[in-house]
Subunit: 155 residues, 2 copies
DNA sequence: AGTTATTTGTCCGTATGTATA
DNA sequence: ATATACATACGGACAAATAAC
């Protein structure tokens, strides 16, 4: 229940309540949230408060909204592994609107940049995990008997 | 100038205009933006439109706002290098409000996570650059005379 | 097919609170 | 104290996209 006398604003309280429902699985990925007018009536607040709460969750990447449709809990995207080259710099920032359009990035999703002296690649953070090279094999363990790691090329 | 007949909303047009001024250096880091009422009058739009435009730029990490003060173009933070261990997974996502408070992260700044089997560290993306291990020295160039660059490496 | 209802997006105005200058 | 400025909350209105019939 929202508390008007609390030192936290109404829309932040509502955002926290919805966030908890998402985290606890009451609103699983793919589920629709109640409509804005519904939440507005249910909590006795203006639609403005509801929309501000939605904006918070959108900025956190938790929900996705489309005009005419109810807000939806975002599905965790399948992540592709990207191998970081040696001596690479990995940074992250929020993409611009142009970059969001160009790479089809949803709101609240950072952009990961992998940069070396030669090249620079960009990846939407919800679809990519960057991994570093495996630990160098200790002396004598080089080219072992061929477990699940091929010595030549992984393809 | 904002165009009410354009197919782009007013607040997005205003956000783009301000973003361009920041990118082109007319509003350098540390500079104050005009006040909301000022922008409202100057462009003939409601304060709501101005605030929506500000929210866009905040979410992109371009400006920082404090109650009672004018919005400010964010200074590029000094970045600390973090060495990624071998076989590490590097991901990024937007922090929750609690995480923002806990690590003192501004709006529009992603959270970088470096995870291995043993540990997991979190870093604000505006203050950290993760770098991978340098390329292994080629055979024979091992333990060279200690120049800045290995002689046969492309970089 | 088309028509209506629902739902989110945008924009306006106003008022009040709270922090800064 | 007064003025300025951003944050929050209310209300209303219309547009645009979707869903339902």
């Amino acid at each position: 229940m929202l508390d008007r006398r609390a030192d936290v604003s109404l829309y932040r309280q509502l955002a926290s309540a919805l966030r908890d429902q998402i985290r606890h699985g009451e609103l699983p990925p793919g589920a629709e949230l109640p409509s804005e007018s519904d939440l507005s009536k249910r909590h006795g607040v203006s639609r403005d408060v509801v929309r501000d709460a939605m904006a918070v969750l959108r900025a956190e990447g938790l929900i996705a909204t489309v005009r005419g449709r109810r807000a939806m809990v975002r599905e965790p995207a399948v992540k592709v592994s990207v191998q970081a080259p040696p001596a690479a710099e990995i940074t992250a920032r929020m993409p611009t609107v142009d970059e969001r359009r160009h790479w089809n990035i949803l709101e609240g999703v950072p952009l990961i940049t992998v940069r070396t002296t030669d090249m620079e690649t960009h990846h939407p953070a919800d679809r990519v995990v960057v991994h570093t090279a495996p630990a160098p094999a200790p002396d004598g363990a080089l080219y072992g008997f061929g477990g699940d790691e091929a010595p030549s090329d992984s393809g």
